[in-house]
Subunit: 170 residues, 2 copies
DNA sequence: CAAGTTGTAATCATGATGGTTACAGTTTGT
DNA sequence: ACAAACTGTAACCATCATGATTACAACTTG
């Protein structure tokens, strides 16, 4: 508890609270894309287990299962307990990076930009600045998300296959 | 150290390392915009000290001074040790949200999206997926940043003043 | 010269991320 | 039916980033 002096106004009491919440785009997102690509590329040839995917991504098998769980909840893959081999629920060109981004919950409800939580309502700027910035920051976030809608898993898999084929020619 | 078995390939040794680095858009960004707005709105009427700005933002005065330091390094404000009252170095319409975003170093060099760090180079997908995703994720980040260039401090201050005036009319 | 202010280093508390262990429940091959 | 393999999930841990806080030297101003 800290006593603040505000110009031309009575002294009042103000609580500082720890700024909480964070806003990062988890590596789960790129892991998810990696996983889905593997399911498509290796699905016909071998059993794509969480252990297998752990080997390809370098990410712990439990984390892989968690990510697969998120993708399952989002209706992107189907998995069954005890049975190996997740498979996609729809064609590659119907799955955008944005769908995956949503599935792995990259961004929480507060949005991409973290806002300082305790602007002073006694201050005319403090009680209005949030409102003013909000639409602009939301627009920036939306611009990023819309760009993610422009790429599908089909694009990713195709380009990956091309790189692999190119490797083998050499 | 974990021994991994990769299908049709010899057993090899693999190191798991903690995934490091984070990618969040600090609240320093919105704090910086808040601060700059206060400097413009209150600059003529009173001494806008770090303590004053702390009162308006609800953010610790030391953090305020750190943010002001970043804005000074970026050439957006001028401050002098011992002397209160930061002031802007150029007109409001020459300062975009993107300039402020750059100043407070919201995003490190690795980019907005965090990539899992240890994709397996023995796996054809593992050694190519990074390359494939990179340009797409960079494009998404750029879309967001370009949107930030569309708003200037002049816009923010003008709209804030309008809200304040509207309050006083009631 | 005293009071007020900035610049900055150092330390701390908290929260988020991902690694790891453990195990129950399910599937599959024989 | 049964053992082996696999998934789903909870629980706990280590590490890192953020911002709060204390402290103090250096500078400015009246």
């Amino acid at each position: 508890m800290i006593i603040m002096h505000w110009p031309n106004r009575p002294v009042y009491v103000y609580y500082f609270r720890q700024l909480i919440g964070s806003m990062q785009i988890t590596s789960k997102f790129t892991v998810a894309v990696h996983i889905l690509t593997c399911i498509e590329v290796f699905g016909g040839q071998m059993r794509v287990t969480s252990e297998f995917l752990s080997g390809s991504t370098g990410v712990n098998a439990v984390i892989i299962r968690n990510v697969l769980g998120l993708l399952r909840e989002a209706g992107i893959v189907e998995t069954r307990q005890g049975s190996s081999g997740a498979h996609l629920t729809r064609s590659l060109d119907k799955i955008t990076l944005y769908d995956i981004y949503l599935a792995v919950e990259c961004i929480d409800d507060d949005g991409l930009f973290r806002f300082h939580e305790n602007p002073n309502a006694q201050c005319p700027v403090g009680r209005n600045i949030h409102k003013v910035m909000d639409s602009r920051l939301a627009a920036a976030q939306t611009a990023m998300e819309n760009e993610l809608k422009n790429t599908t898993l089909a694009d990713i898999v195709t380009e990956t296959q091309q790189l692999i084929n190119h490797e083998e020619k050499r």
